[in-house]
Assembly symmetry: C2
Homo-oligomer: 193 residues x 2
């Protein structure tokens, strides 16, 4: 797990052995089983999660129905909105698969930034990257039909289509489950030539 | 204009006179007239824009038609995605109104971070805040009907409804212009009691 983390970080900066040891000392790795709820709607938390293995899902409950808004897989970070809003969380975060995550929290972050100031630059760059990635995803969502959204998902995150239940995927794409079934059938059918 | 900027920054940290002067010396304020295009699709840029006065709009051209994806008004920042992707921009940024913006660019950012390291912390916090704000906006968009989206806009950004043309607003809300007209009429009509 450490190797995966350090390989990821090395894309941004070369860490010294001292810096690597500092991260390992923090004891931030947590194994969480499939189905485990990391955050409940209504709760408050200061913990954020960086996925090393597995898949996390954010969902709201609207009129008694789950509405999935995002999935996070390997090397993606989910910082619950409530950390910034200081309000109780509006959504749940649960494990779609057995997962290994790095749990971040402000006291550990502060400690790392003090001992290892370059880490703050790294966090800023990662957040800026994430902001752009999310903006492109939102723009694409707005500019696409349901079928186009599903096609784009097959191109950009093909693993997700295999890993998560179809009704969660439909909700995530803003499509009714029966519409997603129709789209999938249409795309599977060889086109008349 | 400076006062507005410093009032905004003071919500996050108290600036010394030296730090304020450093920002003013950078000569980052730019006045841009209504209709001016700050970024063309297909171009590359390293400039980001922080709106002090006025309104900027991001839009794509899809099948010859403008698709508005976002508006930025006072004290909002737009960092074009192409700064991070290193690809030509997929969208345009234009002024909906006569505007005053602060133009950021990497060399000035680097200079400020070196002279004034706390500014990097400030930028990280602002980016984290923006990430959460955008995530909530996207989640709300996914979980809402067109009418709900318009109602939410009236609540959260009532000024926008007055400031931008209705066809741009419709596109921004992911609604056809004729549907938005119907929604507006329905909401204006006093409900039968």
């Amino acid at each position: 797990m450490e190797d995966q983390l350090f390989a990821f970080l090395s894309k941004y900066m070369t860490l010294t052995e001292g810096e690597k040891n500092l991260i390992l000392e923090l004891d931030v790795f947590r194994t969480v089983p499939k189905g485990h709820v990391l955050l409940e709607a209504g709760d408050r938390t200061e913990e954020s999660f960086f996925v090393l293995k597995g898949c996390l899902r954010c969902y709201y409950i609207v009129d008694g129905e789950e509405r999935t808004t995002s999935f996070y897989t390997e090397l993606e970070n989910v910082s619950p909105a409530c950390i910034v809003t200081k309000e109780p969380s509006a959504y749940y975060i649960a494990c779609v698969e057995d997962s290994v995550v790095i749990v971040g929290e402000p006291s550990k972050e502060k400690y790392v930034f003090e001992k290892f100031p370059r880490f703050e630059t790294l966090c800023r760059l990662l957040t800026e990257e994430l902001l752009v990635k999310n903006q492109i995803t939102f723009d694409t969502f707005k500019n696409s039909s349901p079928e186009e959204r599903y096609r784009q998902l097959l191109e950009t995150r093909p693993d997700l289509v295999q890993r998560v239940p179809q009704h969660q995927l439909a909700s995530f794409l803003g499509i009714k489950p029966e519409s997603l079934s129709r789209i999938r059938k249409r795309l599977l059918k060889p086109s008349a030539s």
